[in-house]
């Protein structure tokens, strides 16, 4: 028996959080409170345990072969983790800051920044060119850390793209920039070949499905003969998604 409505409200709120029905602003407020409220943490854990068995209703979906290698690359990139030998961490101590590319919000942010930049560039380009061969798609490739634009991909149609440098890029000795693309439902990225820093490149995508909205483009740093595996192995230097103009 509950003495008042207050505990009921707390448990109902925790339950709604676990179900996922809270709107984003309320989710964020709840999570902020959760971080420092052991009662609430207990309430949430209890709901997680109660509902967890019902994930069994969902059929498994085999991940693409590319997903684990991608996770592993991110793990290796964050290999600064210090083995826990001395102190036991208090629960809810600050977790080690994950690097930017682990963060979904950052990715969404980059996509948003790319969109804003693409729209701005689209305006600029249509103003500059007299015969407005308006590209159907545009991608602004940003340097992940600085979010500065390094390259633009323009597609006058869905089978032909142009990669245009916006500046120069220092490629370390023995390394090269490799250009990749992946649409949402492809299993893995496809190499579009090596790219000379500062040099524009025109490509026909005859071997690939037509360009689509949100298609990912990235430039990674690979050995100078290109990735040995046929998949990106090195760090992402520039990345962006296609936006329909």
């Amino acid at each position: 028996m509950s003495p008042s409505n207050e505990p009921d409200d707390l448990h109902a709120l925790a339950g709604e959080y676990v179900l996922g029905t809270l709107p984003m602003a309320e989710r964020e407020a709840f999570e902020a409170r959760l971080a420092n409220d052991p009662e609430l943490q207990k309430a949430v854990t209890a709901w997680e345990e109660r509902f967890f068995p019902y994930t069994a209703m969902v059929d498994p979906v085999t991940p693409s072969d590319y997903l684990w290698p991608r996770i592993e690359r991110s793990l290796n990139a964050s290999a600064t983790r210090v083995p826990q030998t001395v102190s036991r961490r208090a629960p809810h101590a600050h977790m080690p800051r994950s690097r930017w590319w682990h963060s979904l919000p950052v990715w969404r942010g980059i996509a948003g920044a790319g969109l804003a930049a693409a729209l701005a560039m689209g305006v600029l380009l249509t103003n500059v060119t007299t015969a407005p061969a308006t590209p159907e798609y545009m991608v602004v490739l940003l340097a992940p850390q600085t979010q500065s634009a390094g390259w633009v991909v323009q597609a006058a149609n869905r089978q032909e793209i142009q990669l245009i440098p916006l500046g120069t890029f220092e490629v370390p000795e023995g390394k090269a920039l490799e250009f990749w693309t992946k649409a949402d439902d492809w299993q893995a990225p496809v190499s579009l070949g090596l790219v000379e820093p500062g040099q524009p490149l025109r490509l026909r995508l005859d071997q690939l499905p037509p360009l689509e909205d949100n298609q990912l483009f990235e430039l990674t740093l690979e050995d100078d003969s290109g990735s040995p595996t046929g998949l990106p192995t090195g760090p992402i230097e520039f990345i962006g998604r296609a936006v329909e103009i």
Binding site: H11, L19, F52, M57, W68, R70, P83, R108, D184, D185
Partner: protein, 207 residues
Amino acid sequence: MSERDMSETGKANTISTENGHVRPAQEFDYADALARCARGEHAALQQLYQQEGAKLLGVVLRIVKDRGMAEDIVHDACLNIWQRADSFDPQKGAARTWIFSIARHLALNAIRGRDREVSVDLDDPHELDDDDTFQQASRVTDAFDWQTGQRMDECLQQLETERRNCVLHAYVDGLSHAEIAAHTGAPLGTVKAWIKRSLLRLRECMA
């Protein structure tokens, strides 16, 4: 801490039980895998991924309904699990539940964040509809084959079918109140009241 042969635990296959649910063929020690993640053993995360990757992707995809986004989220979930493994406390809950919670909440954040971008005012003018006034034209049937053989089944069983459907649409499909209302044809205020009351009844029943 178990020092079991990694290759043995990592290769644990899954088998289907008579009711179609999948369970580990050998007991996979999730808490031990997390402890090894906390010590920085990549192999432990890989074993977790081999064990649960498809299940995690299934759960996330059901919520976000976009394959590329779902894989992004499973990627992020694995890194979150890796980074936060040392904050997992086996006294407070089961390791497997903890792992899935991380992935589910990333998925929920992604779709609820998207709802906000769309930023429609979903508030229903009929907010105050009494939750007992709603009558569906046809007989309400279960939207889910939800019996799992857990104790919670009995408590869900005690809910009216349409309320049970609301709760499971939220948990499994990641539907918002408004989406559940659209999906079931019940007014928004009714859906909200049903879910809240159902939660309280479930908690009481499980106590």
